[in-house]
Symmetry: C2
Subunit: 189 residues, 2 copies
């Protein structure tokens, strides 16, 4: 049985170095609050506000370290509340996605793209993927059990030697399935 | 292929005759705004506020006609926002569920039970169920396709000669699967 732990991702933002400086001040560095399951990734102490045409979220957690491009990941529920209509995308694939206004303590910016609903995915260390015969970018079916049990289709495999085994779903997917961080899911095929 | 249309249920409330009077005044009758897919059921013009320990919703749609017992149906997302922890239940099965404060234009009440997250279910007219060999209360697996496609397990069959064929999921389930009202889902078994 190919079992993977579930990690539920609440709304969060990745910022470019340039945008960190625009929002927090010149030379600013994010402070690590908590390490995440993927090695080197962390939840920062800092948050920003994001403001859409219909609503806003005052405290959106920043995940570090800085990335090449700023990216806001929200659930579909969040997207309705903000008044933005992002597509379901793999992280990093932001061409043609909507932008949004972001406010920090030292400034505000308006990004012209970068808002996505993250496509559910599993991070595999290269050794896990080899053991189970799974290729990078393969589409998987993954079952979560329980009273709201379901089988997620189109779960994207992401394989890298820096990854730790973890399946990432968003809060809508967690609420619909009853799955919580640390629950185990099963890869069917 | 056993295909059923999907109906997405947003948060809503059913009220007893006694509670309609407590909230709207003696002898008050709900006004029909829009007929629902189930014959005789309607969305009323009236709304109420529901107030939890953490948050509130100002305009929760009342579905009529009056029922024997008051029942508030919310998504898990809504439940977190309100600060209430309802179980997943079939409609009408409210023993041991949490209560909540409900406010109308003529009064307010505090119910001691009745808040549920509705178990996903399919309404079958008796003739549909017979044709497909489906029993009342049978647990089904139902597939929704598309980019966020998934297979819902534990979908409850509800069979009655007054029902029209319709699969009811809540907003979390709709957002997680990408399914919209009017989309078709397929009963697998």
């Amino acid at each position: 049985m190919k079992q993977v732990p579930v990690g539920v991702s609440a709304r969060h933002i990745h910022l470019s170095k340039e945008h960190i400086e625009a929002l927090f001040g010149k030379g600013y560095e994010l402070k690590e609050m908590k390490a995440l399951s993927q090695p080197g990734q962390f939840a920062a102490e800092e948050t920003v506000a994001v403001i859409g045409t219909k609503g806003k979220f005052d405290k959106v957690r920043i995940l570090g370290p800085a990335r090449g491009a700023t990216q806001l990941e929200v659930s579909r529920t969040d997207a309705f509340a903000l008044g933005v209509n992002p597509p379901v995308r793999e992280s990093g694939n932001i061409e043609g996605t909507p932008g949004i206004k972001i406010v920090g303590p030292a400034g505000e910016i308006e990004i012209d793209k970068g808002v996505i609903v993250a496509a559910r995915h599993i991070h595999f260390h290269t050794s896990d993927a080899e053991k189970w015969g799974i290729q990078n970018h393969q589409s998987l079916r993954v079952r979560v059990g329980g009273e709201r049990g379901l089988v997620f289709e189109n779960v994207v495999a992401r394989v890298h030697e820096t990854y730790a085994l973890d399946m990432h779903i968003d809060t809508d997917e967690a609420n619909a399935s009853g799955a919580k961080t640390g629950d185990m899911a099963e890869i069917l095929d």
